[in-house]
């Protein structure tokens, strides 16, 4: 049977991807950000999964305009890096695990998550920056990736509580997949940031640190943060943190925290990152 072995959360700031692609990671501005990922880059070498279920949001690259699904799952064989206005990121093509993706899609609908299947899309920085942060610059990604796409941009987004339940349903789906696979679930986005208006540049370090404090061992407390509270406290884009809840719920009751990292700023955003190993 498939096992959920670990979870990773990380911000997915596009400028981080650009810093990697343009070899700026040692520069004064960027070095402290990338230092926070030294642990995971080593850790992943011994803990490379067969498949990552990678939860992210599309930033008006494939979705958000003609079709705006609340929850969707990538169902193509492969996904190319999107051209977000400055050319495609020079990263490997992302390869799906169709059998597991199909199983998850079916199980989610049975569990009353009416998820959208996407047979063709490019993936943007929301998905590729976390892969680059963890695996570095590689010729091929070392495992399969199933994209799970959440609407966190057009209101109303799903609630944190709903995202938690989706994480639980993803957990149940993975654990009932008959093939012998190691699976990780990653949650991306956040932490606090707002990208427009007189509140642009908002960073709420107290909120962010409390979120990381509670996520490992008292995540139930985070479930009930309302959408409005995310907006007020963490900024209009800080609500991406609901995707960290999907990861955390998928890991089940007990986790061992292997790494936590927090740093301000990367471009407009507070960067957060955790690595959890699953115990159950």
């Amino acid at each position: 049977m498939a096992r959920i072995t670990a979870g990773i959360a990380t911000s997915h700031v596009p400028a981080i991807g650009a810093a990697i692609d343009l070899n700026k990671t040692k520069e004064l501005y960027w070095a402290p950000v990338f230092q926070g990922y030294e642990f995971v880059k080593e850790w992943i070498k011994k803990n490379t999964p067969d498949v990552i279920v990678l939860v992210y949001n599309d930033h008006a690259s494939a979705l958000m305009m003609d079709i705006i699904p609340t929850f969707a799952i990538g169902f193509a064989d492969e996904f190319e890096s999107a051209d977000e206005g400055w050319g495609r990121r020079p990263v490997p093509v992302v390869k799906n695990h169709i059998d597991l993706a199909a199983h998850i899609a079916e199980q989610l609908v049975i569990d009353e998550f009416d998820i959208t299947l996407i047979n063709e899309m490019d993936v943007d920085h929301g998905l590729t920056v976390p892969l680059s942060l963890v695996f570095g610059q590689v010729e091929e990604w070392p495992c399969k990736v199933i994209p799970v796409v959440v609407n966190v941009s057009q209101f109303p987004t799903p609630s944190g509580e709903r995202c938690w339940k989706l994480g639980e349903a993803i957990r149940n789906a993975i654990k009932t997949f008959p093939e012998d696979l190691d699976v990780q679930v990653w949650g991306t986005g956040g932490m606090s940031h707002q990208l427009h208006g007189s509140r642009a540049g908002l960073i709420n370090e107290e909120f962010d640190r409390k979120f990381i404090d509670l996520l490992a061992h008292e995540p139930e407390e985070l479930k009930y943060i309302t959408r409005l509270e995310y907006l007020r406290e963490a900024g209009t884009e800080g609500i991406e943190l609901i995707m960290w809840l999907i990861m955390r719920a998928a890991l089940g009751y007990g986790v061992e925290e292997k790494k936590r990292f927090y740093r301000v700023p990367a471009s407009n955003t507070a960067v957060g990152h955790v690595v959890y190993e699953a115990k159950s």
């Binding site: 930033h59 305009m65 471009s267 507070a270």
Partner: protein, 134 residues
């Protein structure tokens, strides 16, 4: 039976200086966003750069939206239904960083904004709610 909700959607309008991207705003910005997403292809970026006005006229945007694009008035574009994830494609076409694009809507200069970010960002104290002034 009306359902009990934790808060009214009207509360989304209670955050200072913030236009929450609702379904209605998404509809208002739809053709503007069609234009922005067209800039995800190099040949379209080239065509836009060659004759901005002619390129914009291919889209069903309002005249006000077209003028705000020509003026690169990102604040105005957000007032007209724009969302930063789309608008950043326009900024990228101009070779402008996301941080500069965001700072252009903040009322601060790009340098002041970059300095604020380096110093830990904008503190949320006093800008959580118009009504509660906290």
């Amino acid at each position: 039976m009306p359902r009990t909700r934790l808060y009214s959607l009207d509360d989304l309008e209670d955050i200072p200086g913030t236009k929450v991207f609702t379904a209605r705003r998404s509809r208002q910005g739809y053709y503007l966003h069609k234009f922005c997403m067209s800039l995800m292809k190099e040949e379209n970026r080239d065509e836009f750069r060659a004759d901005e006005r002619a390129y914009l006229d291919k889209f069903k945007m309002t005249e006000e939206q077209k003028q705000a694009v020509l003026d690169r008035d990102l604040t105005k574009l957000i007032d007209l239904g724009g969302n930063m994830y789309f608008l950043v494609k326009l900024a990228s076409t101009d070779g402008m960083s996301a941080q500069k694009a965001v700072s252009a809507t903040s009322g601060m200069s790009a340098d002041e904004y970059a300095k604020m970010m380096l110093e830990g960002g904008r503190n949320p104290a006093g800008i959580r709610s118009i009504r509660d002034k906290n």
